[in-house]
């Protein structure tokens, strides 16, 4: 497979949903260090809502991504659920009406998502957020000259490295920001969610 069609993207969301279910406890634990501990529950509920929503009946990629974003937010209006919503709308607008997605398009989607989130929330990279795993992965996809599977293997690794780097960062957003220096040493829950999204896509592609 060298391009993703609408049906693949719908199946990827099903994969993301099961990944979030599998990692519920991990996310709850990470979030309990500085947040209110509901991250695993909200991500699991948010992505499950997508596969049970009318988004699955949409017949184009842009409309699907917008409805899916709204479904995440509706089920999980927590900070991260809303950030994912903002990102999916921003990314979908960047893609426009497109029939198939290659690695570079996917990179542009994620970069468009990250830029929308930065614009709406005033956040930047290196502030211990989901951006720290999404942006390196997006850039890796944009610059990739490999096939789809290998491009996503690299993007997954870039997301994982970005996630690990958040351990050394100081939180400046959300409730974690109250802990300032004390937040150093803990891996960010949002960045972990970003990594899990890329893990899901890579594992989905592996099985095709």
């Amino acid at each position: 497979m060298d391009k993703l069609k609408l049906q693949n993207i719908k199946e990827i969301f099903a994969k993301i949903s099961s990944t979030m279910d599998d990692n519920k406890d991990l996310l709850v634990e990470l979030d309990s260090k500085a947040g209110d501990g509901d991250l695993g529950i909200s991500m699991s509920a948010g992505f499950r809502a997508v596969i049970n929503s009318d988004a699955m009946e949409k017949n184009n990629i842009r409309k699907f991504l917008m409805s899916a974003g709204m479904a995440v937010n509706e089920a999980s209006p927590s900070s991260l659920g809303t950030i994912i919503f903002i990102g999916m709308i921003g990314g979908a607008k960047r893609l426009g009406d497109i029939e198939e997605i290659d690695a570079r398009d996917a990179g542009n989607f994620f970069l468009g998502s990250a830029e929308a989130v930065m614009e709406k929330t005033g956040s930047k990279p290196s502030e211990k957020t989901i951006l720290d795993s999404i942006i390196p992965a997006a850039q890796s996809l944009i610059n990739s000259e490999k096939d789809l599977l290998e491009s996503f293997a690299d993007a997954y690794e870039a997301a994982r490295q970005g996630m690990l780097a958040t351990k050394e960062m100081k939180a400046v957003h959300g409730r974690a920001a109250y802990y300032q220096e004390k937040s150093i040493g803990f891996q960010d829950g949002g960045a972990t969610v970003g990594m899990l999204i890329f893990e899901s896509i890579y594992k989905y592609l592996q099985n095709q």
């Binding site: 209110d36 501990g37 509901d38 709204m70 937010n73 509706e74 089920a75 209006p77 927590s78 900070s79 659920g81 809303t82 950030i83 919503f85 903002i86 709308i89 709406k120 929330t121 957003h173 959300g174 409730r175 109250y178």
Partner: protein, 335 residues
């Protein structure tokens, strides 16, 4: 956890159902959605709509102020969690009278982002919206970073002023202007004695020592300025009033509206003991109390503690503060 509830996950919806059973003539769920409450009585045609939204667990905040002379609608989230952008959007759409919708809500990350998106969705349908975030808690950031401050009980004054201006049929720009003017003259600060329990969590998500007080703690248990050993009521009030007046100096002859707000687990007696010292404190510096509210206006479930809000008055603000408001949880018609 010891609470008089049914299933923890039904806490928010059953609260709303109870309120709707009690006040069917004044409140209704828009299209039967328990997360979107709007006025059930007649709303003036062509009036600017004032709306808000936020998590459950703070009654009477937020939905308790939906009613004549205050709010037209409220999107209701789960305990301490923002409602979704789509719920807010439906609420905005349902409340719009054609004169624009002012979204007036507390400065919290989740609420901010969801209202931003809700206003974007409204814009796509040509509904005019404006947003004003309330950030009255002096303990949550420095004066230089006032925009980062979170909202506490001062929300009630914001809705009171904006709601009156809207009911007087002022255009949205003027409603926004007088609201911002009120917010510039509004300060709050609180103290917490015990934590609260989010029903779904089942245990306190933060702790306060038995002999300690969290000065400046937020209504979701956000850390405050400092942890102090137990203080008397007079000492506590002085700590809060010193900080408030340092942030917004008050001079002899100034007039203020005062709110002494219980956080949910503190008896009215203690609130009046606090008001006693607020009164004396202000008298010592020659400040006149124009209006006062003592009771529970913005709570945090069973959290013990209280907050003080001060609104510095002028002739314009008096007119809006005195204007009649009448909601299921709040009225000034009896004063």
């Amino acid at each position: 956890m010891k609470k008089i509830i049914n299933a923890p996950e039904d806490f928010s919806s059953e609260t709303v159902e109870g309120i709707l059973y009690a006040h069917p003539d004044r409140l209704k769920a828009l299209d039967g959605d328990l997360q979107i409450l709007v006025r059930a009585d007649d709303v003036k045609k062509g009036k600017v709509s004032i709306v808000t939204g936020g998590g459950s667990g703070h009654l009477p905040v937020f939905l308790g102020y939906v009613g004549k002379g205050m709010l037209d609608g409220c999107a209701v989230g789960n305990v301490f969690a923002s409602p979704s952008a789509n719920k807010m959007f439906k609420m905005i759409k349902g409340c719009d009278n054609g004169a624009g919708v002012l979204c007036l809500y507390g400065n919290y990350g989740g609420d901010n982002m969801n209202f931003d998106m809700a206003c974007e969705l409204s814009d796509m349908e040509d509904i005019k919206t404006m947003q004003i975030r309330v950030s009255d808690d002096v303990a949550s950031a420095t004066l230089q970073e006032k925009k980062k401050r979170r909202a506490v009980a001062g929300l009630v004054y914001a809705w009171k002023i904006a709601g009156a201006a809207a009911d007087m049929m002022l255009p949205i720009e003027e409603v926004a202007e007088i609201t911002r003017h009120a917010l510039e003259n509004l300060r709050s600060m609180g103290v917490a004695l015990t934590p609260c329990i989010v029903p779904m969590a089942g245990k306190p998500t933060f702790s306060i020592g038995d002999d300690e007080m969290e000065v400046g703690m937020g209504i979701h248990g956000e850390p405050g300025i400092e942890v102090r050993k137990k203080m008397t009521a007079n000492e506590t009030v002085r700590v809060l009033m010193d900080k408030i007046t340092e942030d917004m100096p008050l001079f002899a002859g100034n007039e203020v509206a005062v709110m002494v707000n219980g956080l949910g687990g503190t008896p009215l007696e203690e609130l009046y003991i606090c008001y006693r010292e607020v009164f004396d404190y202000l008298a010592r510096i020659g400040v006149v109390i124009y209006s006062k509210y003592i009771g529970e206006f913005a709570t945090s479930m069973e959290m013990a503690g209280m907050s003080i809000s001060i609104l510095k008055m002028d002739d314009r603000l008096k007119m809006f503060l005195d204007y009649e408001a009448n909601t299921p949880f709040f009225t000034n018609a009896n004063r």
